[in-house]
Each structure stands twice: as structure tokens, then as C-alpha cells.
Amino acid sequence: MTASAPPMLQVEGISVAFGAVQALTQVSLDIHRGEIVAIIGPNGAGKTSLINVISGFYHPYEGRILFQGQDRTRLRPYEVAALGVARTFQNVALFKGMSVLDNIMTGRLLKMRGSFLLDAVWWGPARRQELANRAFVERIIDFLEIQAIRKTPAGRLPYGLQKRVELARALAAEPTLLLLDEPMAGMNVEEKEDMCRFVLDVHDEFGTTIALIEHDMSVVMDISDRVVALDYGRKIAEGPPELVRKDQAVIDAYLGVPHE
């Protein structure tokens, strides 16, 4: 990461509203290649909305989003995914009846070139492709240490493991930008430490750029290079974690101050 390189993701003055509710107001944000950026803020601050805008679930009524220099403000979620942006969800969104392995394999869908006929007879390129994808998925299973639950239906897993499987599925898409919506919510201390380790390892091993929403300040301090704080849909602070933590606006947002 050098200061002169163009940011991987540029969010420029976007605003999102749902009817009369202003979810985001002129939020700007850059994410550079190789960074881990944490997005913090009280409940309802607009963190998930921001992630949803980046991943194409919502479209802003003003402002624009550049990914690797290209304007992609109005792309659909699957188009964004095809560009190399993968995400996890705040409320785990796995196929509950499918095995962990199959869930992760769905993360490879965008990498597969299907031919209905060849797939049906499991022959030639279809077979080679499936094997290559499976081999890739096995690397991720090994990486996230979930070998023991490979064949377990996702819905039967405890919450902490479901989160890990979701991360695995996101990684299967070989993302250049990974968006994690509260990857550690609802976990105990040990599970959080494991998850932190995995996030750092992913960053290390695959060089993935990561933006994550997180509430636990000790986690944020530990793993992020930069922190963006939101409150009432506006960006109130941005910078290295130790500075943002001391920022008066951030402290006020979390502790609450009277509004005029």
C-alpha cells in the first residue's frame, strides 16, 4: 500500500434514504488495497446500510462508488460479486439444510462455467472443473479448521461455527474485497479470538482487503489499520484506531449527548 496508489474502493458522498428515514448522509470513504478497515458506530448508525450500498443491495440517491477506478454505483449485487467483492451477513445466511461443504461450494458458483449437458453427465471439462473447485474449497476448509464439520448440515452447527462457514463461503469466491458484517457478534471471548486470528490470517495469506463492522473495541484496536466511525448516517471520525477511540465525537456518539 503506497499513498500514491489509487484506492481500491472510493465511496464519494453517498446518501441513502428509506422513505423519510435518512440512513446515510453524504458519506465518503476510501479503502486501499491490503487494508483492514473497521466500521464502527452505535446501533442504527448506518453501518450495515453502508456495506449494503458497497455490495450493491441498496443504491444511493446521490454520490458514487468507484471500485478499482470504475464507476459501479448502479450495479446489481451479483455484478458486484463478479467484480470480486464478497460479504458475510449480520444474521447468518447459510443454506441450512445443505452440508457445510456444499454451502462453501456455492461460493465458487461465479467461478464455474456451466454447460448443462456436460454437468449432467459429469464428464470432461465439467468433471475437471468440479474437482478443481473442490480442491480450492478444501484449502479453505483446512485454512479455517472446519474439517470435522465438512459433511454436517449447516443448520445444525452452533452459531460461532456458522459464522465461520459463512466466512469460508465468502473466501471461496476469491474476493479482492471482503465485507464482514459483525463477524464476531454473539461470540464468546474464545470464539472471538479465533475469529480475529482467522481474519488476520486471511489478510496475511491471501492479501485480501477487508472492511468489517465490529462493536467490540478491543477487537477493532487489535486488527484494524483504520477505523471509520458513523453516527446517524454521517461519518463522524476516520483514522488510526487509537485516535478514533479518543475522538470526542465518537465518545459522545457511544455515550450519548443531548441533542439540540
Binding site: R134, A135, E138, R139, I141, D142, F143, E145, Q147, A148, R150, R197, D201, D204, E205
Partner: protein, 664 residues
Amino acid sequence: MASTTRGPATGNGHAALDPALDTFPKLVADNARRLGDRVAVREKDLGIWLAYTWRQYLEESRLIALGLRSLGFRRGDKVAIVGDNRPQLYWAMMASQALGGVPVPLYQDSIEREMQYVLDHAEARFAVVEDQEQVDKLLHVRAECPRLEHVIYKDPRGLRHYREDCLLSLEALEERGRAEAQAHPGAFEAEVAAGRGDDVAIICYTSGTTGQPKGTMLSHRNLIVTARNAIAHEGLTDREEVLAYLPMAWAGDHMFSYGQSIVAGFTTNCPESGATVLHDLREIGPTYFFAPPRIWENILTAVMIRVDDAGWLKRRMVHALLDVARRVERARLGRQPVALGDRILYGLGQLLVYGPMRDNLGMGRIRIAYTAGEAISPELLGFYRALGVNVKQVYGMTESSALVSIQRDGDVKLDTVGTPLPGVEVRISEGGEVLYRSPGVFLGYYKNPEATRETLDDGWVRSGDAGVLDRDGHLKIVDRAKDVGRLADGTLFAPKYLENKLKFSPFIKEAVCIGDGRPYVGALVNIDLGSVGGWAERRNLAYTSYTDLAQKPEVYELIGREVARVNRSLAEDEALGGARIRRFLLLHKELDPDDQEITRTRKVRRGFIAQRYAALIDALYSDRREVAVEAQVTYEDGRVATVRAQVRVADAPAATAEAVEAAR
């Protein structure tokens, strides 16, 4: 009653070794010649079983050895080996031995302080470890272990940004090995040829239930002769399949997965991870299998949870047919005829229950299975035998190269550990302690002549176990000699005997019985979170944590019934039946090796528990119904926290037969 018993003679002398094949590296080179393309070791990696032949086994070990040589390895150097069972780590052991060095396997879940002690005491210059987790621990203690020069790791994940000079990947080491082979052709072969059968082959640190661990030195001769005698005795061939999943630091794994595998030439299989063992067991279907009692217990518990989750009809069928199997097995062991009705039902059971269950557990191909490391309850052993799995008790310890006696096929008694192996003599001292002498008896404790003198006397080893020889020459282990005591009224009391009976219950994970010098027996019990949790769920009993669940009155009732069952079964034992459990309590936390309450091989450290839980033990001998406790919890990174709880104390219910039946 016989006072000495001997294993059968082996003909050509028990300890004779061919000098051309008197070390493990020489044997592996021989295997590579004889069995070349046969599979020596398998490892499941990325979901696929990878096989390595004996030729590859030798070649990989050679590269590692030459790599170590290029780093200045000298004969006699110690190499710490830390990690899960991996072919590469077995090769590292082989490589160290090939250079005349000594591998020192460490328990992979040891905390830093324990590792530091062993590394420092063993004066290890090299360490070969599995991954980042172990590297981190070693780097933390490195300042206190000045002799440690090189840390070699197998899995580079997460280590990319480590800049310490002492670190080297296994791949890079093998690369150095290749260069070394070019520069010094024949060096490996010369080093191997220089090895002697009486060289130290391994130092196993035994955790012990008291004090600092001791480094047990075993020679190639100790291990090879013991392995060879047991192989001949048990009729093992080069076609066996074993699963290597128990800690490499445990002498048992070393004997089965390394010693016997190399001597007999059979295949060792390394599971994918600790969590996948039961699954991998099923994929491999071993023919030869060993497990300590706790694993047999865990498997039984897992099976019973699933049986109890099944429908009414299946559940009744399984329980009824298992009862038949137990009856039939009891008759067989007692060499009594089996009633015709039972024979028919047993056949039906094979078809409907035993066969499918064995198959489901991955035990369908087992010819010989051992339970070792701890006493097993006769009920538990009987269950597996009834199911048709040939589980036998083995007795031994690190100091005897893991093996002293084995129950022979066709001569199995549920409550003994069998008869001595060939070349082994067993004697009971006047104080009731088991003594043995064999070609497998260790060379001594490393740098600890005092402890060696205390244990080794004229070739006889003091086992520290209290035992008796029955009239058929079977050895029966009662308990640790120092743990056997008497109640205040003089009744004989063997805590482990009671604890094993308690642990037979799927609801009880661990138990500690107290009674020496006391008016009656009291028990501290750890519930099994999985099975009691499942039981609670089926009854819509909500709980928040282990502590909360353990303190539910309903759970006390449940465990009370198990205690009553134990008390009832005690009535059948003449010698030890007097000591029944009068009061018990359910501990608010699980006993944990990190808290030093049990050893890494899960042996209870009584002295420590008596001290830490003094308040609870006092409550067992008062009429209080409740007691407040705090306990320290040590996390794996060494941090310490305190847990506070209220613990209830209960009387054991009167053991009426009806109550026990109702509970079932």
C-alpha cells in the same frame, strides 16, 4: 496365590538383536528394501488420504536428517517434537535417530511453562513442530531455553512475517538436505550404520501425578525387542492398519504407531485433525486399534446419546439386544454354555444391532483392540466385547516400553490386565506393589539418578501400582499403590476403582473419590456436558452454562441414581465392596490439565485436588447442603481467571434395585 509370574519363553532369547537391524533407522532401511512400495503411513490432508510408501518414508527421513546435519547436528543431540500425529513428525523422529540423536516428543497441548521445563531439562538444540501455535509457544520460552537453536515448522501458515533467525520451514530444511546429499554422498548411510541397539532411542517425559515430569530414556533395544515379542505373541502381521491419533509424547503411541509399525511393517494412518478422529476411524477401518478408557467412554457416550434420540421402537430394540449380548459375553468369558434362546437372539442382534453398530463406529475390521493407560471399568470393557469388538486390557507404562502384560485371545477376564508378555516377569512386593523385569525396562531417567534409583532396583521396576496375581497368573491392578487407603473403620478403599464405576455412566465425565481416614466415601463428580445437556434438552430443562446445569436439582437426582447404581454393583465385590459412596457433589467446572487438576493423559492429581477443593471436601463430611467456592481457571495462553459458584452437596440415595431399574 502365585507371587511371581513369567510370560512365555521366546525361544531364541528374549533380548537378542541382529546387529544389522538393531535400530529403527536400520529397520526402516530394511523395510524400504523388503516392502518398498507398500504403504507405510497415510495422512488425511485437504480431505484426501495421501499414502507414503516405505521407500518414501526412508527418503523423507533421509532428507530431514541431512538437513539437520547441515545445521550442525551432532550425535546425542536432542530434538523436541511437538504437534499432532503427522507423518512428517514421525520422519523427524526417524531422522534424529538416524543421526544418533534423540527425539523428545512433547504433548502438543502443553502450556508454555510445561514446555519450557522439558525443553530446558532435555537440553534440546532442535525442535520440529507442526504449526504457528507451537512456534509461538517456543518463541515465548526461547529466552529461558538458551540451548534451543533451531525451530523447524511443518505448516508455514501465519508464519510468513516471522523474522526470527532460528525459524526454518521443513521444506527449506529438506532443500538443505538435498544439497547436503550432493556434497556428502553416503553420509546418511554412514550415520545410520554407526547406530547401536543400546543407544538411547527416545526420551519420553512422563507427566506424572506429582512433581516435575521425568525423562524416561528408552533404547532401541528396549523398544524393538518389546515390539517384536508383542507382535509374535499377538499374531500381528505387516498387513495391519492402525490409527495414530493419541499424543506422540505418549509411550503407547510411540510403541504402536512407530515401534510396532516399523518392526512389523504395518501401516499407520494419521487423521486429519483431532476433531475428525471418529470420522477418520470409520474411513480407515483399522484392524488393530488402541485407546485409553476415556476414548472408549466417549465413544460409548456418543453412541448412547444417539440411541436415546432414536424412536421408541429402535431404542427398545437396541437396549434389549445389548442386554442379550452382555449375557452371552458373560457366559463366554466364564466358559459356560449359552442358552439356545440367547444364541438365536444373539444372531438376530448381529444382524440388527451389533454388526451395524460396529460398522458405524469404524470397528468392523478390528482384530485386536487394546485399552491402556488407565484402569477401565469391567462394565465398559464388557460392553465392547459384547458388541463383538475384541478389546483387551493391556498393562504397561513408559518405563516398560509401554508393555508389560496383555490379555490373551481366549483368556480374557474383565477385571484383570492379563498375563505377562514373553520375556517379562511380574512379582508382587510384600507391600502389595507390582514389580516387573523385562527387556523393555528403561535405561533410567534423564539427568535424574535419584529418581532412577527409587524406581529401578536390580532390573526390577517399581510400578507404583497396587495389584494382585490371581490363581491363573493374571495380574489385577487395584489402584495406584499410594492412593489405596482405608476408611476410618478400617474398610479397604481404592478410589480409582469407584471412580471408574462412576465414569461408566454416560452422564459422568470425571470423578474423584475421597475416603482415606474418613468415616465414609465422598465423591466429587464432573458431569458430561454433551450427554447431560442432551438429557436436559429432552426434558425441556433450560440452562445457561456448565455451572448452571451442574447445579440443577434434577441433575443431582440423575447423578444420584448413577451413584446408587455404583453402590449396588459394589455389593458383588468382596474385597472392596465395603466402601460405598455416601455423599457426593457436582463440580461447577470441568477438571482440566491446564489447571493441573488432571494430567495431560487425564489422570487425576489427587493431592492437588485435595488442596484446591478443600472447602468442597469438608462440606462432604459435614451436614451442609450448600457451599460457596471459587476456583482458578488457566487459559492456554497462561492467563488466569477466577470462577465463583454455589455448589450443592447431596446424599447418595439408598440403592434399591427398583429405583435403579426405574432410572434406566
